[in-house]
Amino acid sequence: MFKYNNQITKNQYMFIIQNSMIGVGILSLASEVCKEAQQSGWISTFLGGFYPIFVVTLTTIIFKNMNFNEFFEINRRIYGKFLAYIFTIFFFINFTFFTSFVLSGFTNVLTFSTTKFLSPYVIIVLTSVLIYFTINQGLTNIGRLSELLFYLTILLLIIPIYFINKGNSTNLLPIISNTNSIIKAIPKTFFSYSGVEISLFIIPFVTDTKNVLASGIKGSLITIILYSVTVILTISYCGYVLTSKLQYPLLYLVSAADLPILSNFEPLFIFLWGNKIFQTLAVGCFGMSYTLSFIIKNSYNRCCLFTCLLIIFTSSILIPEHNRSMVIDIVMPYLVYTIIIYTLLTFILSYLKRGEIFEKN
């Protein structure tokens, strides 16, 4: 029972990166970007993809410079023991926020759409139990699940494509009317793209590190394209005014179809997307448990238990949707900018120290 294994293949690394980002963001992203960038929201989404690619690229180079040691080891060598400890705590807090946002958002969507009769706390607790079972086996199992669930991502992409010729291109024109607003909307996409920080922790576990950068970028690109396509389709179908009014534009889009057996795509979409959410949560919780086991010097498996208990508590606080979006608006920019600064700084320092020889521990 208490065994875990962290080795993953390069393919699995790619799918974990891809999966770590498909969160609640995919549902509300279109609304957020359309508020600022109007019909050009999809361009902001696409440009916002700079964040995951930036993080993945720099991370890979950092680890290459430092000979693929584990995260803590690298931090210790670059910043010394105390700062390494502080950074680990920061990342633990970051992942705690991330998973709580995703879990509470997931709960809100479920109680909003198909399972109105369930108490949100039941959903939170059951999801946490599932996550515990997933992460308890270590990263290998998460990697395998990610790989398997990638096939579901393809289906997830196919559902919006049903609407591809039902929209109207006039809703997307003119393509660019205001560059300023497009740039202003980019930070709004960061919540949807956050979660990619996990690459800082999992790169050392990849068995074959030869083309790991390409894998990371491929994984990010899949998500960026998925996001952009869904935003384009939503805007072209609903127009930007309606899109920005809706809480979950993508959910509105999928429930607009008229089908013979189920009345619309919504339950199917929730089913597929729910699996992705479990995966995203598992990746986030792995990050939490992994950092926590370093902070409190305890075994990984026990930390998994603490982690799951902690997110039950934190996500219960964020239950009504307006509560959650308020906290996101306050917290998210700080987290993202700190991560960008941290990655950049570590990148520069690791570049300077790259001449020193480190053995892989």
Binding site: L110, T115, F133, N141, L262
Partner: protein, 485 residues
């Protein structure tokens, strides 16, 4: 217990008798050969009496007794006994074990070794066509209870010098003979080591059939997914050996265990390879649709009935509501009742003789369904859903996996009843976790889908033309890391 024979033939005889079932059919035939007292020991029935009389007793009694011989026990097999397979041993446990296998033991006065002649009675069931695994184009022969004959059948088909047989004896109370067959060079050494260590670590009183062996090879006692396949048909064994798997034969059992088995191959019929590519793919896709139907059709129907009726399209909804008027049972009980009735019918059908069983299943199904709907206990739509589900279970080629998949829908029904769509979601994800975490003898259970290998995935849910797929699957070779990954 005394382990070795002594020079005293009476004490030897006593020790052996004490360790052999003291039945009427344990025969101690005493003869005098060259003025030495000899005992011929065998268990009649297991050993072939005619063979013993012809090859052992007749030559020993008819030759002239006066020629001197230096070493009787040395001369006996060389000059007098006609039997083709003779061993010399002095270990009493060995002797007792061989007696129980049907061999004949010759004890000679003043010698502390004994001769063991092969006189096993080969009167077993003849080779017949498999009744459990029918095929249209495949071979007509199937394995029998005779271990040696089974090995012969296999050897006749695999004319490869690297085909290896390894013999193991397991069981504390009843010793059972296992034979591990594999083709050296094709099977992955890591998998082979895993299998061997699992077999030597089996701690069981007895192994009666392959089903026992399968469970003793898996340390996860509550795992519901089969990690090995069993088959009666030699052609399947040959095919799997060529893919790099191993087969375990058990003495006195007509089924053979093939291992390791990954999840996806349970849904591949052996006939798929004999049919044209597109036709084979069609039946494979039908099979996967059937699996999804079995697992989630009833739960989804239940969830829509009790929690999300608005998801039915308008026309379907009025149909369903009108069919459910005045039905006293709640939906869950209604579905469960029909399911249980069907399971009982099917279980009953298995135990009955073949033609009667089929009749029972059909007539019983029609009568129960018709009377339940007529009486207004069950709605027509529910009956239809249950019937579709049950018929879909027949399409899964492997019986063990069919049982597992059939079982999964009951927890799914209960989860659906309690949590609606969210219940189905967690049920599905939980089974995925269970599946991905399993490994069969070092091979990930969900390979080749994860870890992903393109060269193998083309023969999973669909299959490409034979010339592309008849290569040794890489996913069964965990010790060799492919250069891509």
């Amino acid at each position: 217990m005394i382990e070795k024979l002594t020079k005293n033939i009476y004490s030897n005889l006593d020790v052996i008798s004490a360790n052999v079932p003291s039945n009427l059919n344990f025969i101690k035939r005493e003869i005098i050969f060259k003025e030495h007292k000899c005992y011929i020991l065998f268990i009649s029935g297991i050993a072939d009496k005619n063979v013993i009389e012809e090859t052992i007793i007749k030559p020993l009694l008819t030759i002239k007794n006066h020629i001197k011989s230096e070493n009787l026990l040395d001369d006996m097999p060389k000059k007098y006994i006609f039997s083709s397979d003779i061993n010399v041993t002095n270990s009493i446990p060995d002797i007792c074990y061989e007696l129980l296998n049907g061999k004949t033991v010759i004890l000679v006065e003043n010698y502390d070794t004994a001769l063991v002649c092969n006189t096993i009675n080969d009167n077993y069931r003849q080779i017949q066509e498999s009744t459990n695994e029918k095929s249209i184009y495949g071979l007509r022969e199937s394995f029998t209870e005779n271990l040696n004959l089974n090995l012969t059948i296999l050897q006749r088909k695999v004319k490869n010098p690297n085909l290896k047989f390894e013999r193991y004896i397991v069981g504390d109370k009843i010793k059972t003979e296992l034979v591990l067959a594999y083709i050296d060079g094709i099977i992955d050494p890591l998998v082979l080591t895993n299998i061997k260590s699992k077999i030597t670590n089996i701690n069981a009183p007895a192994l009666i059939s392959t089903g026992f062996l399968e469970q003793f090879l898996d340390y996860r006692h509550y795992n519901i997914f089969p990690l090995t396949k069993s088959t009666e048909r030699p052609d399947k064994v040959v095919f799997d050996l060529l893919e790099g798997k191993a087969a375990i034969f058990i003495a006195e059992s007509p089924t053979v265990l093939i291992l390791p088995a990954t999840f996806l191959e349970f849904f591949q019929g052996f006939e798929d390879y004999s049919e044209r590519t597109i036709i084979a793919n069609f039946s494979r896709i039908m099979r996967f649709i059937a699996i999804i139907t079995i697992m989630i059709l009833e739960p989804i129907y239940l969830v829509l009935l009790i929690y999300n009726p608005e998801l039915f399209p308008y026309k379907l909804m009025s149909l369903i509501i009108s069919s459910r008027q005045n039905i006293p049972l709640p939906p869950l009980l209604e579905i469960l009742a029909m399911d249980v009735a069907v399971e009982i019918l099917r279980e009953g059908g298995i135990r009955l003789p073949n033609p009667v069983g089929t009749t029972l299943a059909i007539v019983g199904g029609i009568v129960i369904g018709e009377s339940a709907t007529k009486a207004g206990l069950v709605s027509y739509v529910t009956l239809f859903i249950v019937a579709i589900t049950v018929i879909s279970t027949f399409i899964i080629p492997n019986y063990q996996m069919a049982l597992t998949i059939r079982f999964i829908r009951f927890p799914m029904l209960i989860l659906g009843q309690m949590f609606g769509f969210f219940g189905l979601l967690i049920g599905f994800y939980f089974s995925l976790i269970q599946l991905t975490k399993l490994e069969t003898f070092g091979v990930p259970y969900f390979s080749p889908a994860t870890p992903f290998r393109f060269s193998d995935i083309i023969d999973s849910i669909i299959r490409l033309p034979l010339n592309k797929i008849l290569v040794e699957p890489k996913s069964l070779k965990p010790s060799k890391k492919s250069p891509k990954n």
